[in-house]
């Protein structure tokens, strides 16, 4: 299949939501040396696919998300979004830290995107209440972000992103700072949200376990320069079972891959 490459605009297939074509990106470090963050990235992501990106810290995963979000532009190559995904309206981003605006109560944080769209106060507060219920934060509408635990904050951040009804959701290690049991709860919740909403998700993590639990596909990155080592499709049924032999095999396989490049 031959695709038309138009930066940040059109993809010539209705199956593909997002595509990276020969993307490269470098940056100058604080000490002045040139670092290649990404090299030869070719990646096509289908509509509704849950794609997880794993690799060592500093391998350019975040850069890839920033490129997809349009926060950053590639030095070479092109990134294309499907025609029906407007980069300004349909792409949401969830970070690991500082995910909520500290001067707004939880319900107004969730309603922020709708406010920017000029939705009336009553409507957006209603929508915000519904979303908070969906992420298990009913009753915390009037709380301040600093009154929430880490896990609750990430729940609120997900609700905030979902409020704009994104077609593409970018998540940069959203559960990276959580303890393992909270993390599992949130993984389950995110899996369910993805099942119900059918949006495309690009999810960066450094936990291979998390990547395998959540993803339809795991993209394994090498570090410096960031390159795709393997595009690993997962055909295990959901919900994924950690006790499953196939799960463990794939986990060990990816561990092996990363160990080779990062001795």
């Amino acid at each position: 299949m031959k695709m038309k490459i138009t930066p940040n605009k059109i993809v010539g297939s209705d199956r593909i939501a997002l595509s990276f074509n020969d993307v490269g990106k470098g940056y100058t470090s604080d000490s002045g040396t040139q670092v290649a963050a990404l090299q030869n990235i070719n990646l096509q992501i289908d509509h509704g696919q849950f794609v997880t990106l794993v690799g060592a810290t500093g391998c350019g995963k975040t850069t890839l998300l920033n490129l997809a979000a349009g926060i950053d532009t590639p030095a070479i190559g092109a990134i294309s979004l499907a025609e029906d995904i407007c980069p300004k309206r349909d792409v949401a981003y969830v970070f690991q830290h500082y995910t909520l605006l500290p001067w707004l109560k939880v319900e107004h944080n969730v309603a922020f995107g709708l406010k920017m769209r000029g939705i009336s106060r009553k409507q957006r507060i209603n929508a915000s209440g519904d979303l908070l219920e969906q992420v298990g934060l009913k009753g915390y509408e009037k709380a301040w972000p600093h009154e929430l635990s880490g896990g609750m904050r990430q729940r609120a951040a997900i609700a905030q992103a979902l409020a704009i009804n994104p077609k593409l959701l970018l998540m940069d290690e959203p559960f990276g700072a959580l303890d393992s049991s909270t993390r599992r709860d949130l993984q389950t919740m995110l899996g369910n949200l993805h099942r119900d909403r059918k949006m495309t998700i690009l999810f960066v993590t450094h936990s291979i376990d998390e990547a395998l639990i959540l993803g339809d596909r795991v993209i394994v990155f090498s570090e410096q320069p960031g390159r795709i080592l393997e595009d690993h499709k997962i055909f295990l049924p959901r919900p994924r079972m950690r006790s499953d032999d196939a799960f463990t095999r794939q986990l060990l396989h990816i561990y092996g891959l990363l160990a080779e490049t990062h001795p």
Binding site: P102, P145, H146
Partner: protein, 285 residues
Amino acid sequence: MHYLRNNKHYLHGLMRRMGWTAIPLLLLIIWQVSAMRLGKPWLFPTVTRVLVQLVHPLRDHYASGSLLSNALISIFRVVIGFVTASLAGIILGILMGSVRWLRSLLEPMVEIIRPLSPIAWLPFAIAVFKLNTLSHLFGLDYSRTILDQVQLGMLFVIFVGGFFPILINTIDGVAGVRQNYILLGRSLGANSAQIFIHVYLPAALPMILTGLRHALARCWMVIIAAEMMAGIDSGIGYLLVYAADNAAMDLVIAIMVIIGTIGAGLSYFIRWIMRPFIRWHGQEV
């Protein structure tokens, strides 16, 4: 250990109560006794004579108005100058804090003008604006309102006094906004104007508030000094000098008390107004 800590707390509480009661009372007694023994009220009046002035805020002095009317004139001058300085300082500060080239363009000039004492501007301002008042600005010679007492030159120095602290704090506040919040705002669909109003402004608000408080205190100091200049015939600072010229030291001290109290009151007032907006400060997660 526990016993000791309790004892320490008790001691601290006692000292705090004494700091508010016993110590001021002691000083007042020393003042009263020594003033009575000295017997020169034109130089060092007793506490009671000062109190008599303070409990008669409406008494007219030298046909120049009362303590209250002159204090109100001073407050009115400060409020007008301060509000204009705040608007200008916050708007320019947000622009300079968020647009890098604008900051580079204007910062040298700001740094050159800023260290100059606001009072040093007064002779110049009076020369330029003469003794024109706000009433002249509206095309009237006399409006027979308080506007007649607000000289443009005086407003100018109050503006200069308030503008720079607000500007500098707003720039620092805005430049220090976490990049993450900008990205978050953008990813949720905010355009540049919305980022300005809904991210930069609230995020910088604690710093802006610090600037406002600092600026208001400065404006209040500036007005007292400005009113002491020749050609001004109203305001609490004017009354202070006039009372001193007439050797009415009881009135002088009463005015000093009033000036201090209003200064503290203004600072408290602005903190009280702003408190709900910055409740989140220091609680970022």
